[in-house]
Structures are given as structure tokens and as C-alpha cells.
């Protein structure tokens, strides 16, 4: 098990390295010079050839690509000083670059945005598990009844709505149409500064949107896994032992059905942690998702690079955790 985790971590580091290279190369050989965005921004869109050349030179874009990539990697470990035009910017380790827009080290901004994104992710995921799994189990127990069919088709309908539309509608109805008190002022308010109530009310609608949407999917998913588990031979055995229905359904059925649910949840949760673009944008929460969206729109290359790298790392870690949890849940899987 330990050897397996180490092995996976090594391969994870390899993947992150490759991802970072790929991102680096993508910008380097992009359609326009990588210095173009900052040149445009600094000169208020009057970037001339000479000015561009200056930016390229100070940013090192005239050097060979491997040399600059080396500097970039070194910066991550020991920090570096970046020069843009004639100004120097200090960028401490781990240096992920300096934002073209704010001229602040990317890392600091990233760290400051993690709590918002993680708050959304944890709250939303908590909600959809809390409701999705039990409803799914209940539906599976009553499978084939009218209630089950109605539930499944209505949930299928909800999850066929694109998520951004769903989130937008939630926001529209709850804040504009019904003007739900307290919760209409959405956003991320650090718990340490404004207290738990403000933090909670700011995030509440985002959680609801994410929770309902995820719940419809997890209900259907749990239901499917549960129906399958309940038709297994070992359920018949459990029944033949004279166990009460509750034990059969939960101890024997749900235990088996949880394995695929947990697996899918791990991956889902990882992607949530990497940033929820629509949720953050619609509910105006200053998280990583929104930040990366802004960075793309503002052609803020260092930020785009950093957020891409961040999602890669988060996804790799969550994948690893899924596999470890899987082997704990299913004794037949031995990690090796």
C-alpha cells in the first residue's frame, strides 16, 4: 500500500511536470507573442514593435524556451526576481510568476482565493451527498413504483439542464424574483473577519445551486448502484439468513453500492476543489474559478498557467485518494 502510494506520487509528479511543460510551450508557441498581452496592457493598446521587443527581452522571451522553462522551474523551488519592462518584481518561492494585471506574485493571490473555492466545494458536495444518497437508496428500495419513476424522470430533467443555466436561474429566482432575505448578498466573506453568519449567508445560494444539481445526479447514480447491489446473490443470502430488511438494505446493499458512488464522488470533488467557474461567477464569489476566468479574459498568462497547474495537482491528488479509499472499501482490490 505504502509502496503503491509512493509510486503513484512519483507518477503524479511526472504528470504535473509534463502539464507544466505543455502549458509553458502552449504560450510560448501561441498565435501571438507571449509578451503581447502585457505590452498591450501597459501601453494602453498602443504596443509598437519596439515596445514589444522590450517586453519580450525583459521577460526573457528571446531566450531559448528550455532556458526559460528552467528558470520557471527554479523559481518554483527557490523564488526569483522578474523584470517587466524596467521594473523588478520580487517573487518568493514557490514562484508561479507575477500577474500581468496586478503585478502581484501569483502564488499569494492563489492562496488567498483557495478558502472561497474550498468553501463552495465542501458545502456543495456535503449537500448533494446528504440528500442525493438517501434519496437514491429510497428510490432503489421502491424501484418500479410510481414515486420512483416520477422522481427519476424529474431528476433526469433537472440534470439535463446545463449547469450554468441552472445556477443562473437559481440566482435569478432566489435573489431577484423572491429577494430571499439575508442570502441575496452573495460572495465570499472570510469567516475570520466577518464572523460565521456572514460567511454562511454569502455562500448559501451557491451551495443550494450546486447541492440541488449534484443531488439529482447523485440520486440517480446511487439508485442505479443500489438497484444493482440489491439484485446480487449476496442480498438473497442475507435475506435467507433471516436478517431484518434494514440490515439487508443498508449493511449489505448500501455498503456495496457506495463503492462506485464514492469513486465518482472523489473525482467530482477534486474538480470542484480545482475551481467552480460558473458557480463563482454567478454568485460573485472570489474563488479560483472566477479568477482563472478573469485571467483568460485578461490574457494574464502567469495566472492562467498557475490555475491550470493547480487543477492538475488537485486532480492528481484526488485521484490517488480515490484509489486508496477504493482499496479500503473493497477488500478484493489490493493496491500494488
Amino acid at each position: 500500500m505504502f509502496a503503491y502510494v509512493v509510486k503513484r506520487l512519483i507518477s503524479g509528479v511526472l504528470v504535473v511536470t509534463l502539464v507544466s511543460m505543455a502549458i509553458f510551450l502552449l504560450f510560448w508557441f501561441g498565435p501571438s507573442s507571449p509578451a503581447q498581452p502585457i505590452c498591450d496592457r501597459e501601453t494602453s493598446n498602443r504596443c509598437t514593435q519596439t515596445k514589444l521587443a522590450l517586453y519580450e527581452k525583459t521577460l526573457g522571451y528571446d531566450n531559448p524556451v528550455y532556458e526559460e522553462y528552467g528558470k520557471y522551474v527554479k523559481g518554483i523551488f527557490v523564488g526569483r526576481t522578474l523584470t517587466i519592462a524596467s521594473n523588478d518584481y520580487e517573487c518568493g518561492a514557490p514562484c508561479l510568476g507575477v500577474s500581468f494585471r496586478t503585478k502581484q506574485p501569483v502564488k499569494e493571490e492563489l492562496v488567498s482565493r483557495i478558502p472561497a473555492t474550498f468553501s463552495i466545494a465542501i458545502g456543495g458536495a456535503f449537500l448533494y451527498l446528504l440528500f442525493g444518497v438517501p434519496i437514491g437508496v429510497a428510490a432503489a428500495k421502491r424501484r418500479g413504483t410510481v414515486a420512483d419513476k416520477a422522481l427519476v424522470s424529474s431528476f433526469l430533467f433537472i440534470s439535463s439542464i446545463p449547469y450554468y443555466l441552472f445556477a443562473l436561474l437559481t440566482w435569478l429566482y432566489l435573489t431577484i424574483t423572491f429577494e430571499v432575505p439575508f442570502f441575496s448578498d452573495t460572495g465570499y466573506f472570510p469567516i475570520t473577519e466577518v464572523g460565521p453568519f456572514k460567511w454562511f449567508s454569502g455562500l448559501f445560494l451557491a451551495w443550494v445551486a450546486l447541492g440541488i444539481f449534484g443531488c439529482t445526479q447523485y440520486t440517480r447514480f446511487t439508485r442505479g448502484a443500489m438497484v444493482e447491489a440489491l439484485s446480487e446473490d449476496y442480498i438473497r443470502t442475507a435475506k435467507a439468513k433471516g436478517l431484518p430488511t434494514r440490515t439487508i438494505v443498508y449493511k449489505h446493499g448500501l455498503r456495496a453500492a457506495l463503492v462506485p458512488v464514492v469513486t465518482i464522488f472523489g473525482i467530482d470533488f477534486g474538480t470542484l476543489l480545482a475551481g467552480t467557474i460558473f458557480t463563482e461567477r454567478i454568485f460573485e464569489i472570489q474563488g479560483i474559478g472566477w479568477w482563472s476566468l478573469e485571467a483568460v479574459q485578461g490574457r494574464d498568462l502567469p495566472v492562467v498557467q498557475a490555475t491550470a497547474l493547480f487543477s492538475a495537482v488537485v486532480l492528481i491528488i484526488s485521484n490517488l485518494l480515490v484509489d486508496v479509499v477504493y482499496s479500503v472499501l473493497d477488500p478484493r482490490v489490493r493496491l500494488s
Binding site: 424501484r143 439508485r223 442505479g224 443500489m226 438497484v227 444493482e228 467530482d268 474559478g289 483568460v296 487543477s311
Partner: protein, 447 residues
């Protein structure tokens, strides 16, 4: 670019969830409307007006041995070791599954050799080696002047037509998305044997041979019952007029009454097309009926081989004796209760680390010191009979001292005797010799 992580979160559970729900629903309908044999009942050739005498006439008796038949396939010292990899970053080979470890036999032309033994003894692996689904680790397989073991995949291609396989599970061995015509005719097109417009007539001819309605070439496998699917599998194997058919448990997935239909069909095919069979099954009674010659395998080795009468009537190897005594017998009903049986304790050992000497010794009631030290050779002890046991003998009259000591140059405990000259250590040849080792006289005698 940062892809929209949320978008992924949406897609994944939906897709998987939908699938899971679908599985559940499908099960519901599967339960709700059980597979109706009626739907394919109409495929069957009419059995109206069939009376018992006619039916009985079509039923075959046990296949007879043709002692003069030459060998069509001659397997010598065949080995298949599957590597076992270590866990860890570097996956080293830390051992081998000795699935087949030096077996020799002959398949007579137009005849059948049966291969029996417990699960995991290497029967299927042997079948797969002969059809070259695996490349053997060692040994040779002579077929029409070619050594199948040595040929490259490309050189093998023309010969593949001649060695075909019938699989165990009629439900998984046929592609559900292809029509019967495509399944049976595929090989004709791959090997470009007949012009395109002749494929269909040939397919229909084959379907007729295996007792299916030739008009049903455009139906899908799921429209047929298990026995009918197995017929399709047989038709597919027959497409290229093979010389050798490897039948790996061809009837064990079928209902008893259907088993007999398929066994009879295979016997028909054998007489009509003069095909040779390597017939793999764990059902000793079916093998006895179909095969005039039988090889008994244990843990990757042949422990006894011989003609039907010898193997079933006078087995000399303790394992064969135990195996046969374990088979429940219908005739016991007349007497009541259970037969006296040899109880085999424990499980088959791992083929990764087989016992030294005789592989059966951990479960053998006659095992002695020599059995752990020296591997018993597969000794010819009758005109068509070989057994690999130091104490080979009929049940109840196993010798008290090893019969193999002179040959191997060892004493009764299996320690080498100084100055002794082992008569013959490479005793295993594919077929039978004119002379054999007489257990009573411990001398070589001739027929």
C-alpha cells in the same frame, strides 16, 4: 487553457449514473420478461412425428478406438510458463505459473484425445497453445510437417485454418452485434477461400450441417438458445474445414438434455469430415463417451494417459483412481447410499510453486520418501498406457516398493545409487512404443 472543471463534474455522474440506472432497469425487465425459449423454438427442425426408434438411431454409442490411425498432431514436451510480476515501481518477474509443464501426447487422425483434470491443471492452456493463442515457452507441436511451436504469427496464418477451437461459453463467445451469417462467414472472407458470392451458400450449408435452419443466417445470437448458440460456435469452427478441432468444455455450460444433442452433433461431424478432436472437459463421463483415448492432467503435467478401457477400467495412477471414484454414479440408485470413495484432502497446490518430485504427493495416500525426491517419469506400462507414478498399480494392488528405481538409478528412498546407470531418463515421447515396461517383471516387454 483551464477547462471548465464544473463541466466535467456534470458529465461524469450523469453518464455513469445513467448507465447504472439503465443496468438496474434492464435487470427489472429481464426479471419481468424472462427469456422465452419459445421465441427461438421455431428455429428447431421439426420434431413432430419423431418416434423413439428414429431418435435412438441418431444417438451415438461411445466412439471406437482406431488403433491404426496415424497421429495428426504430435506434441512433445510442451511447456507454458506465465510470468508472475512483482509489485512496485519496477515490475520484475518473480516467478512463473507453470501452467503446462512438459506434456507429450498425440492426437490420432480422425480420432479424439480427451483431456481431463481438476480446475487449473492446465487443460485450457494446452488447448490455447495448440491453436497458438499463446506461444509456448518450450517444446514442439508437429502438425503436417510444421512445428507449430516455432512458427511466427505470419507463418502460422495459413495453418490456423486447420486448427480451430470451440469455446465453452456459448453466451460470451459470439459477438452479439453480428449476425450468425457474419459470425460463421467471417473466416471465409478473412482467408479469401471462396468468392464473395459463394460465402452465403457456404454459410447456409454449414448451418444445415449443425442442425440449424439455414434461413436464419441473418439473425443475431441472442435469438438462439444456449444449445443453438453452441451449434453456431461449432459451425464457425467448421467453416475452414479444419483438420483438428480443440473443443474446450464445449458442453459444460449447457443443460443436460442439450449436452447430449451437442455431443451427438460433434460425433456426426467427426465421422463425416474426419476431423480430429482434442476434447477438453472436466466431466469424466462425457469424455469417456467421446474419446477412445484420455489423458489425465494434474498441475500442469500428464499423470496418466491411455485408451478408454484402461483409464476408466484399470487406472494405475492414484490421482486417476481418486478422480474416478469421486464421480457420482447413477447406477448407485439401484444399491442406495454412496459408493466407497477415495477421499482427496485439501486443495490443489499453487502452480507457481509446485511440490518437488511428484506433484501429487501432497494429496496422495501412497506417497513415500522417493516421491518428494524424484519426479516419476511418464512410463509406458502397457500397449496403450502410460502412468507417472513410482508406485503405479491397480487400485488395491499398488506395489510396496517403487517400480521405477532401476530405470532412474535410485534406491527405494529416491537417493541416487553410486554407479547405477539410469536406463532412460527421457522416457516421454508423444506416442506409444512397441515395447513397454512391465510392472510385474520390471523388464521391457513387447506386444
Amino acid at each position: 487553457m483551464t477547462q471548465d472543471p464544473n463541466a466535467r463534474a456534470q458529465i461524469e455522474p450523469t453518464e455513469v449514473g445513467a448507465n447504472a440506472a439503465e443496468t438496474g432497469d434492464r435487470q427489472l425487465t429481464a426479471e419481468g420478461s424472462p427469456e422465452t425459449p419459445d421465441a427461438y423454438g421455431s428455429h428447431e427442425i421439426s420434431i413432430q412425428d419423431l418416434d423413439f426408434a428414429t431418435l435412438a438411431e441418431q444417438g451415438h454409442t461411445a466412439t471406437k478406438l482406431d488403433p491404426l490411425a496415424p497421429a495428426v498432431l504430435s506434441v512433445d514436451n510442451l511447456k507454458m510458463y506465465f510470468p508472475v510480476k512483482s509489485s512496485g515501481v519496477v515490475r520484475r518477474t518473480i516467478g512463473h505459473v507453470q501452467a503446462v509443464d512438459g506434456i507429450s501426447f498425440e492426437v490420432p487422425k480422425g480420432g479424439s484425445l480427451g483431456l481431463v483434470g481438476e480446475s487449473g491443471c492446465g487443460k485450457s492452456t494446452t488447448g490455447r497453445l495448440i491453436t497458438r493463442l499463446y506461444k509456448p515457452t518450450g517444446g514442439s507441436m508437429m502438425f503436417q510437417g510444421h512445428d507449430l511451436a516455432k512458427l511466427s504469427s505470419r507463418e502460422m496464418k495459413p495453418l490456423r485454418r486447420d486448427v480451430q477451437m470451440i469455446f465453452q461459453d456459448p453466451y460470451t463467445s459470439l459477438n452479439p452485434r453480428h449476425t450468425v451469417g457474419t459470425i460463421v462467414g467471417a473466416a471465409l472472407e478473412v482467408h479469401k477461400i471462396v468468392p464473395k458470392n459463394k460465402v452465403l451458400p457456404r454459410v447456409q450449408e454449414l448451418l444445415e450441417i449443425v442442425g440449424l435452419n439455414p434461413e436464419h443466417y441473418n439473425r443475431y445470437p441472442n435469438e438462439f438458445s444456449g444449445g443453438q448458440r453452441q451449434r453456431i460456435g461449432i459451425a464457425r469452427a467448421l467453416t475452414l474445414n479444419p483438420k483438428v478441432l480443440v473443443a474446450d468444455e464445449p458442453v459444460s455450460a449447457l443443460d443436460v438434455s442439450i449436452q447430449a444433442q451437442v455431443v451427438n452433433l460433434l460425433q456426426d461431424i467427426q465421422t463425416e469430415f474426419d476431423v480430429s478432436f482434442l476434447f477438453i472437459a472436466h466431466d469424466l463421463a462425457i469424455v469417456r463417451h467421446f474419446c477412445p483415448e484420455v489423458a489425465v492432467m494434474y498441475l500442469g503435467k500428464i499423470v496418466e494417459i491411455g485408451d478408454r478401457e484402461t483409464i476408466y477400467g484399470r487406472p494405475h495412477h492414484p490421482y486417476t483412481q481418486a478422480l474416478l471414484s469421486a464421480v457420482p454414479d447413477v447406477k448407485q440408485a439401484a444399491i442406495g447410499g454412496r459408493r466407497e470413495r477415495i477421499r482427496l484432502e485439501g486443495d490443489v497446490p499453487s502452480p507457481i510453486n509446485p511440490p518437488s518430485g511428484c506433484r501429487f504427493r501432497t494429496r496422495c495416500q501412497f506417497a513415500q520418501e522417493i516421491c518428494a525426491k524424484v519426479e516419476p517419469p511418464l512410463l509406458q506400462i502397457g500397449p496403450r498406457h502410460k502412468a507417472a507414478c513410482h508406485f503405479a498399480g491397480e487400485l488395491g494392488s499398488h506395489p510396496a516398493t517403487p517400480v521405477t528405481t532401476q530405470l532412474l538409478g535410485v534406491d527405494d528412498q529416491g537417493s541416487p545409487v553410486a554407479g547405477a546407470t539410469p536406463t532412460n531418463t527421457q522416457l516421454t515421447i508423444p506416442g506409444y512404443e512397441e515395447t513397454w515396461y512391465d510392472l510385474k517383471t520390471k523388464q521391457t516387454t513387447g506386444g
